[in-house]
Symmetry: C2
Subunit: 713 residues, 2 copies
Amino acid sequence: MNVSPIFWIAPGGAVIALVTALILALQNMKRSEGTEPMKEVAKAVRIGAMAYLKQQYKGVILFFGIVFVLLCVLAALGLQTWFVPFAFLTGGFFSGLSGYIGMSVGVRSSARTTHACKTSLNSGLRVAFNSGMVMGLTVVGLGLIDLSVWYIILNAVYANLPTVERLTAITSAMIAFGIGASSQALFARVGGGIFTKAADVGADLVGKVEAGIPEDDPRNPAVIADNVGDNVGDIAGMGADLYESYVDSIVASMALSVVAFASFGDTTSVNGLLLPMVLSGVGIVGAILASFLVRAGEKAEQKVLLAALRRGTYGATILSGVLGFLMVKWLLPGHIQVFWSILSGLLAGVIVGYFTERFTSDSYKPVQSIAAEAKTSPATVIIEGLAVGMNSTIPIVITVAVAIITSYYMAGGASNPGLGLYGIGISAVGMLSTLGITLATDAYGPVADNAGGNAEMTHQEPIVRERTDALDSLGNTTAATGKGFAIASAALTALALIAAYRGEAVHMSERVLGHVKDMDLTLLNPRLVAGLFLGAMLPMGVSSMIMRAVGRAASKIVEEVRRQFKTIPGLMEGTGKPDYAHAVAICTKAAQREMIAPSLLAIIAPIVTGLVLGVEGVAGFLAGGLAAGFCLAVFSANAGGAWDNAKKFIEKGNFGGKGSPAHHAAVVGDTVGDPLKDASGPSLNILLKLQSMVSIVVLGLVLKVSSYLPWLR
Amino acid sequence: MNVSPIFWIAPGGAVIALVTALILALQNMKRSEGTEPMKEVAKAVRIGAMAYLKQQYKGVILFFGIVFVLLCVLAALGLQTWFVPFAFLTGGFFSGLSGYIGMSVGVRSSARTTHACKTSLNSGLRVAFNSGMVMGLTVVGLGLIDLSVWYIILNAVYANLPTVERLTAITSAMIAFGIGASSQALFARVGGGIFTKAADVGADLVGKVEAGIPEDDPRNPAVIADNVGDNVGDIAGMGADLYESYVDSIVASMALSVVAFASFGDTTSVNGLLLPMVLSGVGIVGAILASFLVRAGEKAEQKVLLAALRRGTYGATILSGVLGFLMVKWLLPGHIQVFWSILSGLLAGVIVGYFTERFTSDSYKPVQSIAAEAKTSPATVIIEGLAVGMNSTIPIVITVAVAIITSYYMAGGASNPGLGLYGIGISAVGMLSTLGITLATDAYGPVADNAGGNAEMTHQEPIVRERTDALDSLGNTTAATGKGFAIASAALTALALIAAYRGEAVHMSERVLGHVKDMDLTLLNPRLVAGLFLGAMLPMGVSSMIMRAVGRAASKIVEEVRRQFKTIPGLMEGTGKPDYAHAVAICTKAAQREMIAPSLLAIIAPIVTGLVLGVEGVAGFLAGGLAAGFCLAVFSANAGGAWDNAKKFIEKGNFGGKGSPAHHAAVVGDTVGDPLKDASGPSLNILLKLQSMVSIVVLGLVLKVSSYLPWLR
């Protein structure tokens, strides 16, 4: 069976993305890294970051090996197809590769950004933003190319099946691809998050608070570890994270398309299945075109630069919308209404971004109110921050709920529920179709942050540090927006996966049990309700483990920094040199050890739930985890972002400015927010999807075991 | 139609409870209040507390008037029966009365406890515990008597209907009784919570932190307000709260009994309906008998007293279990398996209590780990506390999930889902059947706390303050256990109410639409899923409003205390007298104003959800709220409790003891935990049930409106 010519838009877009990424990377590499000391600092960060990734991949390879064997066992028992273990491996490989490439360019761009800042703010932005674009385009390019290859292979393998059966078989195997990407992403996010926050908190607690030296001061032995953390957590971790969001939303929609279009004939069925991939393909073109809008004059100020970045993302949104409309019109002329679902997703992304900024930028009341509480005490800073974070869930959850309802009904769910569910999936694809550029605005932040660190450590002129600071603060705003975007897309994707779960349960029960299993997915099923409770609890459980892990790792760094301050002669006076590498090694070791427990809990919990409470229990578990985890993720990201910017607001000179009691109180808030916003919070995005993925992959096992348990039969 | 003779066990138990409460109250009143200064302090607290309640009831009466009129409109439109508005009023009245009586005895017992502590620790315990017993027995007595009266009236009114129809009509009207109790409870909890924490935080921030004077120092102008707060929040608020838990669990189970036993004949149907009331009746007897186990020798130490209190609650659990078994055997000889559901509830209550203590007592690792983090910084105290609170959800949610599953299947849910749901309801009734004494161990805490305040303010000998401190610390342990118990019972009750909601939806749709409405309560219904998201968000939304309200009110108190310190000459030297009443008035006013918005949000949200997303949307909303709200409530209570006891652990001399940097860091944790554990957290228990209640009462309206909306038809 030949693939439809329309299909080639997807790999075509992917190739364009990868080629553009390569060009941008080469452009950046041509620039100078500046003076010798600048190169040296950059090299130290690069070596630390690469050493960390190497270590991390070692652990992950072991995990992948074990799971691969287990999946082979499932396949040998006939509880899965033989494609699953291999799709799992490629998903993990490409997810890791995305993070690796993005980080490689990132660590090579920071000193170059510092150097460019000697010229102008705009030059600095260009280097950092290019590095972000490389990350964004690599993620979408690799994701789409891998999906395309699997589609071609599976389409050929199942060529002899009738269309609907063929599409079912294809999507069923491709979902396993997601689980590999998600597992890899979880380790990257959790491990990277623990690393970066342990280094950050550890460096701050001893450096800023005890020794009274500024941030990024070269005398602080944890300063390189802090910079390494930005790269491994916020670049490699985030790349792997969004890689999995991207491919998960696509495969979930593909799986949902089969039921949605089954009654509309073969061409429509195939086109419905291809639409998510094609949309992503044209989205890449939109993102690249829009990236040309991110320019400003050489003397541009921060505000102008923010406007430039916004022009880029809004431009991509509009382009993706227009191109998406054309694709729907072309591929599904009888279902043009599906476009409204895509639009819901695109708009929801923009609206969530707006509200996220509203709650985390110091231009608005919430952050200012936290800063004002700093006048009273650290306790009131924390209370107000918790309240702001919780409060921010209101508009964001409402926005996503509205997106769910509109994308379902607009796609025609009222008369054809299958179409409605497809609408939800495709809205997530729509939201993520601009990922090439939205991720760029996010991933450039850590590069700018590192550029600032480099400037501080190499004692650049104040103007350079001012410019890198401006870039960094710009990055904070876009990072918050990016986080909102990542969470919202995760919620929609996870919901699509839950719907796909039910379809897969039908499919697998036919395969494993020989008949379609009766499933009571109503709220009156006590197993579903018990699952709902357990699912709602898990995000808190996993968060607590990650936060504690950060705490433990941070206290190791605190001890190490104190030790170096004490034992290395002349360190504080600048005559002795701290042992940066040792601090990096401690973070690496701690992150590697600490990432195991929460990751395993996330993976094992849905399996245990399935074996005890059956398919319906898992459905409840996934739904409860999604609803509660979504809220907790929004809370974590926004409380953390708001505390961070409240501190920065005071540092700008408000309420007494740097060094005042208000500033000390605000630093407490910032430190509390760090693990929430950069370690436990982002891990929840992945958790939501990974749980669905794991549940889908072990469905055969759960169904088989259930058939032996009297209460699940 | 005559009521079954078995029925009289319920009002019989209620009368015994009320008579015993009266005897205990009179016993306490006979004791001396001590010296004149002691009487004076007690009087000031009493006047402040009563003034607050008077003010609160004024506001609540207005609210009840408005809702009464609205319910009359619904009744006039045929969307409800005419009993609903009146049942609503009595529910609110008795809930308020329970709080009022409990608090009246409480404020009259604190000075008497102080005085008794001059004799021995055990004497002090007896006075404080008697006061708690009065509260506990008043709650269960009034609850059961009111339910009994309504049962008699409705049974007579509907005497001519066939049994199943009659029972449906009775329970349908009685549920409205719960909404009155719940609304009253919400105002009491939110208002009281804001009052007590504003006063507490305000007094501590200026007194302890700024002025450096000890807790309960008479020079602190907010000290009386702080003591008033314990009474209005932790006694009146908690009394109203548990009153509604108690009656809600009973009416929910009664409503579920109708479907459960419909096919087993009239006698079984009636007996199944009566069982929840009868169980509660015999539970009262068990609680009173077990209260005699709470004794210790005159020279007993704290540990012995804790063991005595435990003997009381464990004794009541065993007695309730045995008596419950006999009742099931007698009333439902064909359904003896229902007993296992009761036992699940009783055991779950004990296990949740155990885990709560595990996470909040300083004898265990979690609290000690928070205290250890205090050596580093306030930020790490907060991070560790957040992690402990989140972590505590794991065992507690698992316990409740297991209770759900066992109580459902043990009752026979596998073959008869109606029986299974009844099993869940009756497990909540079982858990709460020991309320007479469990509430006593909880409500005695604030009395002991106030007794300590009285001792400090009247400069009693150190031994007296030591003894009141021992009682107070004992109260902290039992209060934490009590909170766990309140949350777990709320979760089970709310779940029973959701099941009852579905039954009522069937019943009301027949009544309002003339046919049973088709309801898709599966997780594939997008309206249900959107509801799930919104429901999961609301507990965070309401919590954030309450926490902010506490913050705003507390800063008013801070200003006032600072003002008095500045303007009243000789205050710090002890020659001038602070204006206590003004601080109380500020708290009262602030609490009254601030309680409106979160309470209204809680009441209006499910109505709006119903009007936009229909019956299924509400079902999702309730389930999402339950699962996420339960976790958030457990988190709030245990994080707060753990911070509190970590501070106390340091005050005992660990990590530097009082006044050390570690102590300052721990005080930050304690202050952050205050609004979580005593204001926003406990309000969630009520929120969960109130939302179900409101949804049930407006079902007629929602169904009618839905029939005009194309997407809900």
